[in-house]
């Protein structure tokens, strides 16, 4: 049954349904209402869980790392500067191959200071070695949070569930919260294979010389690539229980015969969907929802794009001095096709700039107008800049 819930509140309920044993968070800006809601569930006695308020995000990540190594199901959430402050520990968690789930409520990073939504924070730690799944709406955030524990525990890899800050976290909409029985059936009690145990001592995260470091990296890389199958099956199995599909690695919608696709991640997909209905373009257009950014689903993407002429990638982050981040990976993946589509890459909605429906014709204009370079911030207002910066 649909309930009217704020995104953060819904995710807090989803986390609670996963029966976490340790939650650590730094409870001030840039935090979300997620941990605030969870702390209330704990304080009200509705969730039996150790809730540890720490003094920084570095400590939040460190506490969940320790807790997971001690065999607990652990959770944390952060965003923006908080993610950056966690960065060192995020690499450690991934390198030790510890199953932890965290929510990144995507927000811009400083400087200039911004509290609003874009995806620069999670993109900045894309190389940390975590699985990264992006949510298009709050229902997906709920379902992906639950799936994330399943994926993390079966792969022994940490999973970052990325949901747009404000645009999802602070939006109230209709959300179906599964019941405890459904989640328990999907997510049995977990025993970490390398739980720290004084009777059976092992070392983790120790010094590794050049003779084994490369192999550790290779193994980690392979493990994340191999997680693709687990991400797909986690979604299928959750479909069987909940009746809802979240889109596996990626999903494609729109007319079969379309030769153009727009690929995006996160909540802008809903706006694009509405735009396609309200401002129907002259030619059929598909939408590709990229859900898994790490692992990057190269083969699935190739299969989805093999008959296309144009792929327009829209993202909410950039690598200054290079251009789009997702766009570059899409370009690289599709270059393996015998007749690759042209890839056009745009960023929009940085630091919370609203993305209106009118973005659709702007994106599609690339098909008829000469392309000025590989990447462009499509909603920049150059008039606001001095001439030399335009």
């Amino acid at each position: 049954m649909l309930q009217a819930l704020e995104g953060s509140q819904a995710v807090a309920q989803a986390v609670a349904l996963c029966r976490p044993q340790v939650i650590a968070a730094y409870p001030i800006t840039p935090q979300t209402h997620i941990v605030e809601n969870i702390s209330k569930l704990v304080a009200d006695g509705k969730l039996r869980c150790e809730f540890i308020s720490v003094e920084s995000e570095f400590s939040a990540a460190s506490v969940v790392l320790g807790a997971a190594l001690a065999g607990s199901r652990a959770y944390t959430a952060s965003a923006s500067q908080g993610i950056l402050l966690m960065a060192e520990v995020l690499f450690n968690i991934a390198g030790m191959r510890v199953p932890i789930v965290m929510t990144c409520a995507n927000r811009a990073v400083s400087s200039p200071l911004s509290i609003w939504n874009d995806q620069q924070d999670s993109m900045a730690v894309r190389d940390a070695g975590w699985i990264q799944l992006y949510c298009a709406d709050n229902q997906e955030a709920v379902d992906t949070t639950i799936q994330a524990y399943r994926i993390a525990e079966r792969t022994e890899l940490p999973v970052m569930v990325c949901m747009d800050g404000f645009t999802l976290t602070h939006t109230l909409e209709g959300i179906d919260i599964p019941n405890q029985k459904q989640v328990d059936a999907y997510l049995p009690p977990y025993q970490f294979s390398r739980t720290l145990d004084p009777r059976n001592p092992i070392s983790l995260g120790t010094l590794v010389g050049p003779d084994f470091y490369t192999e550790a990296r290779h193994s980690h890389h392979q493990a994340i690539l191999n997680a693709q199958a687990e991400i797909v099956s986690a979604d299928q199995d959750w479909l069987a229980i909940s009746g809802r599909k979240t889109g596996g690695l990626l999903s494609v919608e729109g007319p079969e015969q379309a030769k153009t696709a727009i690929l995006a991640i996160g909540s802008v997909l809903g706006t694009l969907r509405a735009a396609l209905r309200e401002l129907p373009p002259g030619e059929p257009v598909k939408l590709i929802k990229l859900r898994s950014f790490r692992p990057f689903p190269t083969e699935t993407l190739k299969a989805a794009c093999k008959d296309l002429d144009n792929v327009i990638v829209l993202e909410r982050a950039l690598s200054p001095g290079s251009g789009g981040i997702i766009g570059l990976e899409v370009l690289a993946a599709l270059s393996e096709l015998p007749t690759p589509p042209r890839v056009h890459n745009f960023a929009a909605g940085l630091g919370g700039r609203d993305i209106p429906l009118e973005i659709l014709p702007k994106l599609l204009s690339v098909l008829t107008e000469p392309n000025e370079g590989r990447f462009k911030i499509i909603d920049v207002d150059l008039e606001k800049l001095p001439v030399e910066d335009r």
Partner: protein
């Protein structure tokens, strides 16, 4: 699909008003979406919240630029540039104001309905929080959603004394404006796509 924009000041319960409105839609098996446009929030600063109500799931997440209805929680905000921008032709404005509707409309240069929501709230709640009285008046004017649904969502959001007083406040607020005055707006908007 109906689009509503709420303008107020930090501390006036803007986000709560938007959430209550969207929640009420679900009480009647419709769909709602509500979200704030946060600034660097602080008490007294102008804030905006957006609401959509529709008969099918709402996909878009852009800000409401062309609302059918504006709810203004502080009449002084009418002087702030941009507050009434983008109102659809024939769109309606409800204002928390100490003036009569005729005088307010004259000052504003367009039709608006005034509700003395602060005075009502002070009388019943003992605090100048105008949001629930305005919602009650809005529900009466539009008859888009029932007062029962507003009462039901208040019961989900509040409890105890605050709930009782708010239930009393919405009863009074609902009686201050002409019932169904804005009713046709919804039917027109429904003809447009969701």
């Amino acid at each position: 699909m109906i689009e509503i924009r709420i303008h107020g000041r930090g501390g006036q319960g803007n986000v709560v008003a938007a959430y209550l409105l969207a929640m009420a839609a679900f009480e009647e098996q419709r769909y709602g979406q509500a979200f704030p446009n946060f600034g660097a929030e602080r008490r007294g600063a102008p804030v905006t919240a957006f609401v959509r109500i529709a008969d099918r799931p709402i996909q878009r997440r852009n800000q409401v630029r062309h609302p059918t209805f504006l709810i203004i929680q502080d009449q002084a905000l009418l002087q702030v540039p941009g507050v009434t921008d983008g109102l659809k032709p024939g769109g309606k404005i409800l204002v928390n104001s100490s003036l009569e509707s005729a005088e307010l409309s004259k000052q504003l240069g367009q039709q608006a309905i005034a509700l003395q929501a602060t005075a009502l709230a002070k009388k019943i709640l003992g605090r100048p929080v105008p949001n629930t009285a305005l919602l009650a008046a809005f529900f009466t004017l539009t008859e888009m959603l029932s007062q029962d649904s507003l009462a039901a969502v208040l019961q989900k959001r509040f409890k105890g004394d605050i709930l009782e007083k708010n239930l009393q406040l919405i009863q009074e607020g609902a009686q201050q404006v002409p019932a169904g005055l804005w009713k046709e707006k919804e039917e027109e908007s429904n003809a447009a796509s969701a």
